[in-house]
Chain length 438, copies 4
């Protein structure tokens, strides 16, 4: 079980997988082609696979797109050659795969999580952008893997392949979660509520490229997970002719504009950092008609659950009062939710020792600040509630542009780093589990 | 030339035309099917027909949709069975028809104008809505004849048919302008600039159903045409991760919201009524991304050209200063323009006398206040500049809902009223022209 | 009863009176010195005088200043030499004088109204400003006769003197109302509710200097009186340390700022002109404290009572919803109210004929648009309700700057014009009353 | 030099001083009576005293009130019995006292700072408020010692008395800074720029009652001093009659309201906490006049100087762009400035050991987070630049309401705690200086 040589050998394949996924990015709950590709690769291995409602708890999903959008996604997936019978299992936006390998030998149950969805961003088309230069840019206008989930998925597949190949030498049980809809904190809970984390001893997650780390550097844990609430607002007003009868309209666009301004004036809190964003807004139907509807989507965040709750409750009041002010009806829907979380204290030491097996992993930082939201927190919290230990590692790579930027890209060498971070911990725990289990 | 019996006889046909047009509404510069249908009907008559760049001055068009939208419209028109060769004449959004009938006998040159475009409104689907009840609702989701241009076109076709049938009995010249893109005040100027109004003696336009008139009542003239400017704004900001790097974003959505609020605070003017509307707004690409773009469309109006200019110049400053305030780039495009206008004083008396020929026309009001914008004003102004006389009549019908409402509808009896208003004036002028010509 | 020669003779005195009043401007309900001076002059004449609660209905006063402000005004008046016994009659802000002359002979009852209050404006100090040049500028910083009420009062005193001098030659009854607190539409109602207008046959009011009239030109009537509501708002929030505990504050200043922006976005109305102004705003107590209070004063106007009611009811909703939005308490007090009104149709002809007696009155316009609020409308309406006839005349003078401007001033020759407008009508009616009385 | 028994003995006097000061609160640069009282007490002791321009560098003062306000303050001080000759030294707002005691023996130079100014807050009048119950509430409406500077001053006077009494037993030099205008971060710099801190070895400052400490608990140092900029803005617009000529006004009140809303939307920063407050706003001169001026005062803060600079530079742009947007002229004046600072690392241990001398000081926390601005940072930074060591201690007391609250009050026992914190450190350093000096 030499991790370094395996990683070196798998590197070309990981790059291929990553680039294929990069070319066909799919946003949360529409990852039909992505799920199909993952499934096709995993079914060659010794895992028991679960998809559709066998993998996720349907009603725990948040922010599921409209039937219309899902229908278009299915159509697109068929055109892209996805198996129709397989697609029917995912019907209604039940994407993602869970892969389980039980060695049959006594040992710890380890869960690993890899997120698979993309973002609604137009990928940069300049030649200087690496995917453009190498010809593997997004083929889908308006969608992009701008948060490295393509890389995460490739690492997950290589991890699965390693476990399958070495199953005879291993003990215990391994559950690999290829999670949909991480963006917007919409998917993790549906896997948690399906029970996959309920008897897990060790949970490992990770992310490519946060902060100023170089290739070979990793962080054993992350802190500063921001609690977050995602929400959708719909204002219903009344249309009228803007020239002839302006006074008869109830202007939903003006109401939304006024509401947005008020939302941005929510006071900061002495208890710590908070955030609010209104990310999209669409309103009105014609230039000369008083706009009768406005739809906007946003999110709040806080360093703690309490701080997020503070901002979100302020936002709720402001949204409803703004509706009253302009005499429009307001609908407010929670479309996603992420909690704060804390990695277990054993990991800085554990990962540091495990990483010594690899000559690629040059430095292990004990902790790095995330300062963002990640719905992996639902999984971390569940594992810990049930008595297990959990961490979330960071895999260093230089970044020219930050996550979610149209020119986001990473040095593909980090695929090896990420894979090795998982493998060295898995291998180390096979022989040293007792030491950490209490 | 008995107008009443002709109107009665043509009524079923006008209803059919109107309902067919109603079922296939097309917004400004995409009236391919509409233009095709008009052409097909007119070509059976004794008119010389002009379409495409022969009918309109290409570069005087305003608010032409994108190539993409025009492409879709052409595709749609082909699917709807429009003649491909004909469509190629309209390529690039050159819609509308001009029909000329020269009797060869000395006499006045009379121009009539009928607007043909629809609105970007979702038609109501309730059974109580007459088109829904009768099964002739819009077949195109998101487009609707909610301003009676379907009726105007039907009246125009019936008028053409009358003139053609009686061409031997008539003298002078007749030019019928089936004008595209009236909504948004985008089309009239392209017909004016083509020169069609340059030697016109009498110009007649009209509209179905403004104000509380009943069937049989008409107004000989309208006043209070609002001058108007239509504009599109595009704000370019900078995206960033709303949780991790909020300070790096330049928030175009917030800039637009703030700008909209400021625009609505433009002071009223002691010189008379003004209006401002922001009718549509679209911004942002994802919930957790600081929005990097915002696009909004709007309009200003004023009782006089000066008042409109006052509001529009205030709006321009506010748009540019708001962009500075939020460090976004602003693009401002004028997408339409309508002037104020004044009908000639001869018409109250003239129409009143002419209408006596019809038993359907029960009352002629001298004038009614329009209080709205209509790009017919470009035509009225050109005719008057060249020494001709112009009016714009109103044809009464009860309205359950106002123009531009998703349940807008009219009593189809008004089709007879409108036709008779045009015909009685045309006939009257054949014998009484001298009296008014000084 | 030669009006012209009387006016010429009185001109120096009118100028003196006007300049004295100009030097000691007092805002509404604090006109102690002004009331005292008027009283002192009138008491030399043959009028029965009423002051304090004998002149006005106490509880019908609107926008009465605080006890503190009234206390300061009394103090100031004492320092200025006003009779203490007299001042005690006015205690609590009961200013103004009513002067009644009953000839004892049968004849019509005519009421005339002259407003006496000043504005809270800092008078311009530039030498180019006529009062500065001539040394009769306001001696009270922050108060100014910038609406010509000093002139109106001088005209009223000269009119009183004329009536007194000619009482033997006259018939009927004359009531002269020296009205306090016209600015803000706060005073007229308190004289109306005292009953002074209940049996009046003819009512005459007027104003110096509206629109572009020259000396000698007058308008017999005015139209476009704007109905108006004056209001005061108080927001109560909660203070907190802006650095340490920003989230604990309820920011009344922010609430007011947001409310003001929303108020300015009230839609114009297709029924006619409307206005809204927030004229003053004071908020907060220290730079580093979240502001716990905000006080603002404003007004709405409309061409009709209905239009004013539309704007004011929108404003009320916006004020209360804005308070909800920012979690502050709102108090809204109506501080003044003016209605729309219509002068009687007899006056254009009547004034035109009457003015022929004077060689100073060179032109009588039938009507001029006021486009402003004037609480004389309460008087006009009451007179008309009771069967009398009422008008409001305009006395022409060139104006370098508009009313309420720090450099507002008028050509003092207009004092003669105004006096003659009243006198010629009064004299004419003595002999021609029968003609107009039906 | 038994500190505990001295503190016990001085307690009644400290309470008396504190209550007298509490009854006559004076805001920054108007502390005439306060300065006089301090001077009168100190002059009985063995200090060399400096006042007026001998104590502070005149042009380094920030946020000095207008001549008018200063004039009223002087008048008030005379009425309160302050010595006229003394007052003339303070002319123009040169308040504060510096007291120097040189023992003549070699030893360290220690500076202590006590701030003396009050806040523009109306003190609560409820009987439940301790100063109201005991009859020592503020006698000056609108001013209040709501930040414990009355207590600080009393502690300073008792410290001075101790030093004077024991001067024979002491070595080195002591400089006591009774600093004006701490609120708004306006005064410290004027003492720093006078050079008082240039050769100081140890600097001690402190504050009563921050955070949830009890009597007897103190913190040896504070961190999280927020850097801050104070600013005043003046918008100059143009008045016009709000009913007749609304379009001619340039509305400064609306500009300020719009600007305030935009200021509150400045993005939070991923680098740490920031704050913005607009604490006061005054605009307009009359209800029916378009407001021609608006004045507002505010502040920005940041956890680091860079963060404060970020917020302040955003604010500057927004203020100037808002002025452009509404066509008003903007003046922006910096009225105060506080930097971030860091207490020296020697103090947690040093204070902890020193406090062992007192049985009142039950617990010494190493550090407490301030989370606020304090212009003592200017002094700390100067001392450290010159090679000295500085700290800022916190003296525990339960607080019913936070600082700057109208019911702010503290348990007067904390006067002993504060005094003892200073004295024990001073005494300890007399014998242990060598140990800490390197």
């Amino acid at each position: 079980m030499n991790a370094d040589s395996y990683a070196e050998a798998m590197y070309p394949k990981m790059k291929t997988w990553r680039r294929e996924l990069h070319q066909f990015p799919e946003t949360g709950w529409t990852e039909y082609v992505t799920t199909y590709r993952i499934y096709e690769i995993l079914k060659e291995l010794d895992f028991t696979l679960f998809t559709g409602k066998d993998a996720i708890h349907s009603s725990s999903r948040m922010g599921v797109p409209t039937q219309e959008e899902l229908g278009e996604a299915v159509k697109r997936a068929k055109e892209a050659g996805a198996d129709e019978a397989f697609l029917s299992k995912l019907e209604g936006g039940h994407t993602g795969v869970v892969a389980v390998l039980d060695t049959g030998k006594a040992g710890p149950h380890t869960a690993l999580r890899f997120d698979i969805d993309a973002l609604p961003i137009h990928e940069a088309e300049e030649a200087v952008h690496f995917p453009a230069e190498k010809g593997f840019s997004s083929s889908r206008k308006g969608a992009m893997h701008a948060c490295a989930h393509d890389g995460h998925t490739a690492i997950g597949l290589a991890t699965a392949s390693f476990l399958s190949r070495h199953r005879q030498e291993l003990k215990g049980k391994f559950t690999l979660l290829f999670q949909p809809a991480e963006e917007g904190s919409r998917g993790a809970k549906s896997m948690v509520d399906k029970g996959w984390l309920d008897d897990v001893d060790y949970f490992l997650g990770g992310h490519i490229g946060i902060e100023d780390l170089q290739i070979g550097q990793i962080a054993a844990t992350a802190d500063q997970f921001l609690a977050t609430t995602k929400f959708d607002v719909r204002f219903h007003g009344k249309a009228s002719h803007a020239g002839k009868r302006p006074e008869e309209g109830k202007n939903a666009l003006l109401a939304a504009a006024s509401c947005v301004q008020s939302l941005f004036a929510i006071s900061p809190h002495s208890g710590g950092a908070t955030r609010l964003n209104i990310g999209t807004l669409t309103a009105g139907s014609g230039r000369n008609i008083v706009p009768d509807h406005a739809i906007f989507t946003g999110e709040t965040r806080g360093e703690t659950n309490e701080l997020n709750e503070y901002v979100f409750s302020e936002a709720k009041r402001i949204i409803h009062s703004s509706a009253d002010l302009w005499q429009v009806e307001a609908e407010l829907i929670e479309a996603g939710h992420g909690t704060a979380a804390r990695c277990d204290d054993i990991f800085p030491e554990l990962v540091s020792r495990a990483a010594k097996q690899s000559s690629f992993l040059t430095e292990v930082l004990p902790v790095i600040a995330l300062g963002a939201s990640e719905d992996v927190t639902h999984m971390i919290n569940r594992v810990q509630e049930k008595g297990g230990k959990a961490t979330y590692m960071i895999f260093g790579t230089p970044l020219k542009e930050g996550h979610h930027h149209p020119r986001f890209d990473f040095n593909e060498e980090v695929l090896k780093t990420g894979l090795l971070a998982f493998l060295t911990v898995l291998i180390y725990m096979q022989t040293n589990e007792k030491e950490w289990s209490e």
